[in-house]
Symmetry: C2
Subunit: 148 residues, 2 copies
């Protein structure tokens, strides 16, 4: 899955991603990096709205998992089950959410559960950065359910 593939998928299938101006910057097995401009995500303090920060981060985690599973013969259904965001600093410019691959052990457990029980759960983290510093941290629990 290339950056253009993922961008097209988000634009075509997830209207809020388009509304928030989400751009796919990088897609790979090690990392997904998404960005958003400040304009469509402003709050009343002229910084990024907390819900938009959560949206970009939850999409980064989802995108990493979706891209990582793209080679599967039948891509499982993916949903987010739980998410937490800690807001560390105001975001006053364009921002990025970077989801890095989980540990090899966590990935192995997830793949094993998915293939043996048809359902796997995976915790992913993401960092939200603005002007080169970490402005928020995200943790999400995603569930994959094998296609029938």
């Amino acid at each position: 899955m290339t950056e253009a593939d993922l961008q097209h998928y988000l634009d075509a299938h997830i209207p809020p991603a388009r509304a928030l101006g989400v751009r796919v910057e990088e897609v790979g097995a090690e990392r997904v990096r998404l960005s958003a401009p400040l304009g469509p995500n402003l709050n009343h303090r002229q910084t990024a709205f907390g819900g938009s920060v959560a949206s970009l981060a939850v999409l980064a985690g989802w995108s990493w998992l979706r891209a990582r599973l793209a080679a599967h013969p039948r891509v499982p259904a993916l949903v987010v089950q739980q998410q937490t965001v800690e807001y560390l600093a105001p975001i006053d410019d364009a921002f990025e959410a970077i989801c890095e691959a989980p540990s090899a052990a966590a990935w192995e457990r997830f793949e094993k559960a998915l293939s043996s029980r048809g359902r796997g759960r995976l915790e992913l983290t993401a960092e939200v950065r603005c002007r080169g510093r970490c402005a928020a941290t995200f943790r999400g629990r995603y569930v994959a359910v094998a296609a029938d």
Copy 2:
């Protein structure tokens, strides 16, 4: 603060609230209820995108606190510091986020800290409902900083 006041504030100052189609249904000391249509909040599974669910809930908490503090001579600055969402069921229609007033004791602690130290923290919860049932729960920690 009336429903129309809050609607106007969100529409004028928080562009993502407008993009997600947020509507103010009810504003009062006991409760704030916001709604959003499914269309602009769809994900790739034709249900509500997790980031939009988080956005509506974080706005409901913020709105309750903003409305509750509207009578203050100088309205404090309000920001969300931390939030958690548990997704319980897919949302396949318009949805609502309902933030209820916290306990009287929690509110008193918050007001005391705000007036004595110029800064108060408050935990608020919200329920996200679709077709009359609870589809997600939200917990957010908000910080109010007294205006100079």
